[in-house]
Amino acid sequence: MSKFKKEDSGGAPAMNTASLPDIVFMLLFFFMVATTSKETDPTVEFESPTGSKTTDLTPYKQRSEIDFLYLGTPRNPNRASAFKMGFALSLDNVVQATADGLYPTNAVGRWKKDKFSQKPTRMTAPIEAVITCLKADKNAPSGLIFDIRKELQDIDALTIAYSVRDKGNI
């Protein structure tokens, strides 16, 4: 018959989680600011070679100003024999055979022209100056790269960027 109320037995006091959303939002904003969104998920597999003294393509401009094309091995290795030299070209997620493979030729040229006509009007650069960034697998043969280069030359898209992973940026 004590006058005093017994203290709660055991159990840690509840933690105040009211500031948890704030912390998570902070993280969220960090990622939103520090990253660029993936344009496409390429449908070919590739691993870029490394290099140094590269130029940053998107320091202060948007990624949509640049057209990316991917050259790598098809995801299904059994399909590799269907492509010239075993490497497939991915244009906007559509796997194409390279220049003189299964599909009609000048696929790159038509794709690039198409891309150029879809650019918003505020991008006023002429087609010669619009960068075409080639992301190729480190084992991709140079012959295919020069095929692509030639198709770009034919339609006067005269700026090409050979993509690598910067050694100082891994």
Partner: protein
């Protein structure tokens, strides 16, 4: 009358919503930057190629074969990292004094008066082409006029009445074969870029006492005409003339 309490909104699931957003951004973003070597493709013209011989000393041929072996001026290079040293030699051997004996490109003097001469000549040619209605030709002459004007401004910035300039025909030539791996191709570009960066950085430090990389980053952000002139001068002193030869079948 007692004031009625506004019911409190339960914010317990706020964290869940934020996490959901966070995860979405984590999945759809790439952290790596787009790094690349930017090159110009020469414009296609229908005219037959001019038949002017380029001296052997002006060519620096970097070759790679199907087995990914490298060759610099017909010497086999087992260590690709040494190519940049050779490129430095290509640029620097005759930089101070021309020596007819060695097999490296010559330098020649360009003076402000020569720039003025060429500019006035080109001005006349532009006018004449305009009169004849040859638009393409007028554009060509206008471009070369702009180039000489750029050169003149660069010499003024250099602080002397003349500048020693690399032979106009001197160039680096990349010759690969059909099966050369892309990594070897980019390695060659890497070595060229390294050598030219080193040359320009040294000169940039000497002339403007700042680093070339900082100067370049600043011009990418906002183009101050002064910085542009500085870069133009460095590019005239050490031009990057690269020819990529299409491999034969």
């Amino acid at each position: 009358m007692a004031k009625r309490d506004i019911p409190e909104i339960n914010a317990g699931s706020m964290a869940d919503i934020a996490f959901l957003l966070l995860l979405f951004f984590l999945v759809t973003t790439t952290i790596d930057k787009d790094q690349a070597y930017i090159r110009k493709i020469p414009k296609k013209i229908d005219l037959p190629p001019l038949d002017n011989k380029v001296q052997e000393r002006d060519i620096l041929a970097l070759k790679a074969n199907n087995q990914n072996q490298l060759m610099v001026r017909d010497n086999i290079f087992s260590d690709p990292d040494k190519i940049s040293d050779f490129i430095l030699k290509f640029y620097q051997t005759n930089e101070k004094n021309n020596d007819a004996v060695n097999n490296f490109p010559m330098y020649s003097k360009t003076t402000i008066s020569l720039c003025d001469q060429n500019m006035s000549l080109l001005e006349q040619q532009v006018e004449e082409a305009d009169r004849q209605g040859a638009i393409e030709q007028a554009k060509f002459f206008q471009n070369s006029y702009d180039e000489w004007n750029k050169k003149k401004r660069a010499i003024k910035l250099y602080g002397k009445s003349e500048i020693r300039e690399l032979s106009v025909q001197a160039h680096i030539r990349i010759e690969v074969q059909q099966g050369t791996a892309y990594s070897i191709f980019t390695q060659i570009h890497n070595e060229i870029e390294e050598a030219i960066f080193e040359l320009r950085d040294k000169e940039c430090n000497r002339l403007f006492s700042e680093q070339y990389s900082i100067l370049k980053r600043r011009t990418a952000q906002d183009s101050d005409p002064k910085d542009k002139d500085k870069i133009a001068l460095l590019e005239i002193l050490y031009p990057a003339r690269i020819i990529e030869v299409t491999p034969k079948n």
